[in-house]
Structures are given as structure tokens and as C-alpha cells.
């Protein structure tokens, strides 16, 4: 299996992306920003279609759209109450724009047959070129290193933003910077697993990790490990069963791990709790 070029490229590109997504995902879950992450992943779809319609490099569209919308969410979001509503309406509009660009693209001379749309939505980890894989690997490693570097202040800003800002930490700027990182990760992950499933690498392993342990650094590590494991197992399954699309396989493995973590923690007497101060209603 490893003698196949496309498998080697898939693992080369996928592993760093999964590593970074796992680390980013832990904070996404802890900050209850799964919906924001989801939105950023859909946004890259619009960006890719806009780039296709304009005839420029797809990747340019992916990154530009994801970063722009991350900043828009920071602007519209108001940490108090209407967060999810602001995100939801933005998401609807950006997808509407995507439909518009899809129209434009289908009408232009190089008009396609939905292949670009399908590829962007569902990813094509088995169709990466050498250059794409290398770039994905570099961005993944870069993101992971940045996450490790900012893990400590970000954790402080997440768990108790009042104390953090009293200590002079720029909490708002940290939050904004983090969303941009999520955007970059979403744009890159889109090429690996696709816009719609990218949330799988971000939210699912992290969700499982948070259920399994309350220790922040352990959960962070576990989240990355589970993300990478999902990717590898998913690639193996997709290779062995040709009718199984790789994106579905990867997400299937991740979801199975999550379900196991759910079952495992349901039967233990003492449930792991969330770090104190993580947001709960009425509390």
C-alpha cells in the first residue's frame, strides 16, 4: 500500500494537517466555537468557487475567503449572547454567495460539470499533486508550531478571560488571532478532506479528547493523536475498500472514536469535568 504514490502523498499532506487540526480543535471545542469553525470550513467553498469563476489559483481563493470571514466574525461576534446567530446568518450569506459563484462558473467558457464543486465540498486526499502535498505539510507543521507557542496564553484567555485581561493579556486580540488560525487551517484542510468534512478533523477528535480527560495539556495531545489516528485508519480503510470515499472513511473513524469515548465516560462513576470557567449556561 505504501508503494503507491498517492497514498504516500495523502499521508504526507494529511498527517501535519490532522496534527494541527487536532490541536486547534481542542481550543475550538473549549471555546465553544465549533460553529465558527464549521462556518470557516464552508466559507472556503465559496472562496474556491469564486477563484474558479475568476480564473485564479484555487488556493488563493480558499485562504483569502477564510481569513476575511474570520475577521468578519470577530467584528460581528459579540461575546455576550448573539454569537451563534451572527455566525449563522453570516454562514447562510456566504453559502448564498457560493451558489452565485457556482452559477457564474458553470456559465463561463471553462464551465464544469460540478466536479470542482464536489471536489471542494468533499475533498480529494487521493488526488493531491506532489507540490500540493508539500505545501499542505508545510502549512500544517507551521500551524502546529504556532499552536504550541500560543497554547499557554490562549488557554488562560479561554478558561478565565476576566482574570487574563486583568493580568494585562490582550484577550480580544488573542481571540481574533485564533479565529484567523482556524481560518487558515480550514482553508488548508479543505484540500485534504473537503470543506464539509473538515469539521470532522477539528471538532470530533477534540470532542472525544475533552470527554476523556480534564487535564488541558493531556487533552491537547490526545486530540492531535486521535486526529492523526483517524486520518491514518481512514486512509487504510479507503484503500482496502475502493468504494469507500476517503473523506467518509476518515470521518467515520473519528466518529467511531467519539462514540467510544461517549460510551466509556457514560459508565464511569466520576465523569471528567470541563476545566473550570468553560462556558455553561446559568453558570
Amino acid at each position: 500500500m505504501l508503494s503507491q504514490d498517492f497514498i504516500r502523498l495523502a499521508l504526507l499532506a494529511g498527517t501535519p494537517i490532522a496534527l494541527a487540526s487536532g490541536a486547534i480543535g481542542y481550543f475550538v471545542v473549549l471555546r465553544s466555537q465549533v460553529f465558527a469553525g464549521d462556518t470557516l470550513s464552508h466559507v472556503s467553498f465559496t472562496g474556491a468557487l469564486a477563484a474558479a469563476a475568476a480564473g485564479v489559483d484555487l488556493r488563493f481563493g480558499l485562504f483569502a475567503a477564510a481569513i476575511a470571514v474570520a475577521l468578519l466574525l470577530v467584528l460581528l461576534g459579540d461575546r455576550a449572547a448573539s454569537d451563534d446567530v451572527a455566525i449563522g446568518t453570516t454562514l447562510a450569506w456566504v453559502l448564498g454567495l457560493g451558489a452565485f459563484f457556482l452559477d457564474l462558473f458553470n456559465r463561463s467558457s471553462h464551465g464544469g460539470n460540478g466536479v470542482i464543486a464536489a471536489r471542494t465540498l468533499f475533498g480529494s486526499i487521493f488526488g493531491l499533486s506532489g507540490g500540493q502535498a508539500r505545501l499542505a505539510a508545510e502549512i500544517g507543521v507551521g500551524l502546529f508550531v504556532v499552536m504550541l507557542a500560543i497554547a499557554r496564553p490562549l488557554l488562560g484567555a479561554t478558561i478565565d478571560s476576566k482574570v487574563a485581561s486583568a493580568q494585562g493579556m490582550p484577550v480580544a486580540a488573542i481571540g481574533a488571532g485564533f479565529l484567523v488560525l482556524v481560518g487558515v487551517d480550514a482553508a488548508e484542510a479543505t484540500q485534504v478532506v473537503g470543506a464539509l468534512l473538515m469539521l470532522g478533523l477539528i471538532a470530533v477528535p477534540a470532542g472525544a479528547a475533552v470527554r476523556l480527560t480534564a487535564s488541558p495539556y493531556l487533552a491537547l495531545t490526545l486530540s492531535s493523536v486521535l486526529a492523526v489516528a483517524s486520518l491514518w485508519l481512514g486512509v487504510v480503510f479507503a484503500y482496502v475498500i475502493p468504494s469507500l470515499p476517503p473523506s467518509s472513511a476518515i470521518i467515520g473513524v473519528a466518529a467511531a472514536i467519539y462514540a467510544l469515548s461517549f460510551v466509556a465516560t457514560s459508565f464511569t462513576a466520576r465523569r471528567p469535568y470541563w476545566p473550570r470557567g468553560a462556558r455553561t449556561e446559568n453558570g
Partner: protein
């Protein structure tokens, strides 16, 4: 050319009107309860529902409603620890349900084979091919949903605003939550057939969100939400008919504009 010259446009306007009213009322509670993400995830469920039904040879609507029902139950079951809503955990559970739905949908689609040209319609909707039967089914669903809100609206409102006090007052909070998610799934599944899986939000959340920026009153908010939903749908359909670009684009853009205007006007008004 008149908007009403073709039967397909008449059907589109009828269906759009029903959907706009139902989505706006449901959406008002969604926004109040901060369950936008759940609404999105349930909308996504119509994708595996539809592709699964195609694969199994069942009517599409059966797949839609089955998938939404399963997902609504899963979200309601998974999102509570220790009796109170844990927003972080709830969002993680919803995220998991949603991506699993997508992964399954994509799997069904590739097993079914060769329907990718329909993917666009499935995701972005099409107002064009609506039949009389579909309009009747929609009307039936809308009546059920509105009847639910007529009966359970008051306790639902109570438990949405103060969960703990409502529970102490004997309101069956948990049962209401599950019932609400099921109705939401029903509304979203039928809306998705018209607006497409990805664009349900435009009609579900934006009108209600704009309305709640304008007024805290319950009756006023619900009325305004329905009014905005209807306007957005009608203008969107008309624009799409005359310019030939997709309805989804116009409806979402108009709805987003309404929301932005509501946000701005609230900021400009003296507190």
C-alpha cells in the same frame, strides 16, 4: 413577463410562502434558545437522508424526515450533563452529528453512483421543479409545526428563558427540548427541499435574528420575523426569475442585509 405566467412560478411562490412562515416562527425560538448550530446540523441531515433514500429506493421525503428525526434525538440525548445545558459540550456533540451526517451522505452518494449533477440542487435547492403534491405536503407539515407552537409555545418560552425556574415550576423541560428539536428537524427538512440543505439558514435564522434586534416583544417579534421572511422570499424569487441567477443567492443576501440593518439600527438608536 408576469411573475405568475407559469405554473412552476406559482408553485414556487406558494411553497416559498409556506416555508417562510414556518421557518420564521420556528427560527424565532431557535434564536431565543441559541440553537442556531443545531438548526444547521439538522438541515445538513437532509443530505444523508436524501442520498440514503435514493440508494434504498425510498421516497426522498422519507429519508429527509428519518435522518432529521434521528439527528434531533441524538443531539438532545448527547448535549446535557448534570441537568443543565453545557454550551461547549453541546456544540461539540452537534458538530459530531453534523460531520457524521455529511460523511454518510457522501458515502451513500458514491455508492449510489453518478448523481453528482443533482448534488448542486440537493445542496443549494431549486425552486423550479416543485409539484402540487409537494406544496400540499409542505402545508401539512407547516400546520403541524404551527399547532405545536400554539400548544407548547408558552411552556417552551418559559423553559427557554429560565430553564431552572421552569423546571422548579413543573414544566417538563427535557421533553419540551426533545419535542422542539423534532419540530425543528421537521421544519428544516421540509425547508431544505426548497432552499437546499445549505441555505436553510437564510430563512430560519436571519429573519428571526433581525426581528429580535428590533423588538423584545414576543408577538411583535414573531410577527416581524414572519414579515421579514415573507419579504425576503418573495423579492428573492422575483429577482431570480427576472435575472436568472440562483434563488439561494438572492434570498441569503437579502436576509443577511436585513440582519445587518437590524444590527446597525439598534446601535444607532439611543439606548
Amino acid at each position: 413577463m408576469s411573475l405568475f405566467a407559469y405554473p412552476f412560478m406559482v408553485h414556487a411562490i406558494e411553497a416559498g410562502t409556506i416555508v417562510a412562515v414556518m421557518a420564521a416562527v420556528t427560527g424565532w425560538f431557535v434564536v431565543l434558545r441559541r440553537q442556531t448550530f443545531a438548526g444547521h446540523a439538522l438541515a445538513v441531515m437532509s443530505f444523508p437522508g436524501a442520498s440514503g433514500a435514493a440508494l434504498a429506493g425510498l421516497p426522498l421525503a422519507v429519508g429527509y424526515f428519518a435522518a432529521c428525526g434521528i439527528a434531533a434525538t441524538a443531539i438532545a440525548a448527547g448535549s446535557r450533563t448534570d441537568e443543565r445545558r453545557n454550551l461547549a459540550q453541546e456544540s461539540a456533540v452537534i458538530g459530531v452529528v453534523q460531520v457524521t451526517g455529511f460523511a454518510l451522505g457522501f458515502l451513500f452518494l458514491s455508492l449510489y453512483g453518478g448523481v453528482l449533477e443533482n448534488l448542486e440542487n440537493l445542496l443549494f435547492g431549486s425552486f423550479l421543479g416543485i409539484t402540487t403534491t409537494q406544496v400540499e405536503v409542505l402545508a401539512g407539515v407547516a400546520v403541524c409545526a404551527l399547532a405545536f407552537f400554539a400548544v407548547a409555545g408558552r411552556p417552551l418560552l418559559f423553559s427557554s428563558i429560565d430553564d431552572l425556574v421552569a423546571r422548579a415550576g413543573g414544566v417538563p423541560v427535557r421533553a419540551l427540548e426533545v419535542a422542539f428539536l423534532l419540530v425543528l428537524g421537521l421544519a428544516v427538512a421540509s425547508t431544505a427541499q426548497i432552499t437546499g440543505v445549505l441555505l436553510v439558514f437564510a430563512l430560519l435564522v436571519a429573519p428571526a435574528a433581525a426581528a429580535q434586534q428590533f423588538t423584545p416583544s414576543i408577538a411583535g417579534g414573531l410577527g416581524l420575523s414572519v414579515a421579514i421572511g415573507l419579504l425576503v422570499t418573495w423579492i428573492g424569487l422575483a429577482l431570480s426569475y427576472y435575472t436568472n441567477y440562483s434563488v439561494g443567492f438572492y434570498v441569503t443576501t437579502l436576509a443577511f442585509a436585513a440582519y445587518l440593518i437590524a444590527r446597525l439600527s439598534r446601535r444607532l438608536r439611543p439606548a
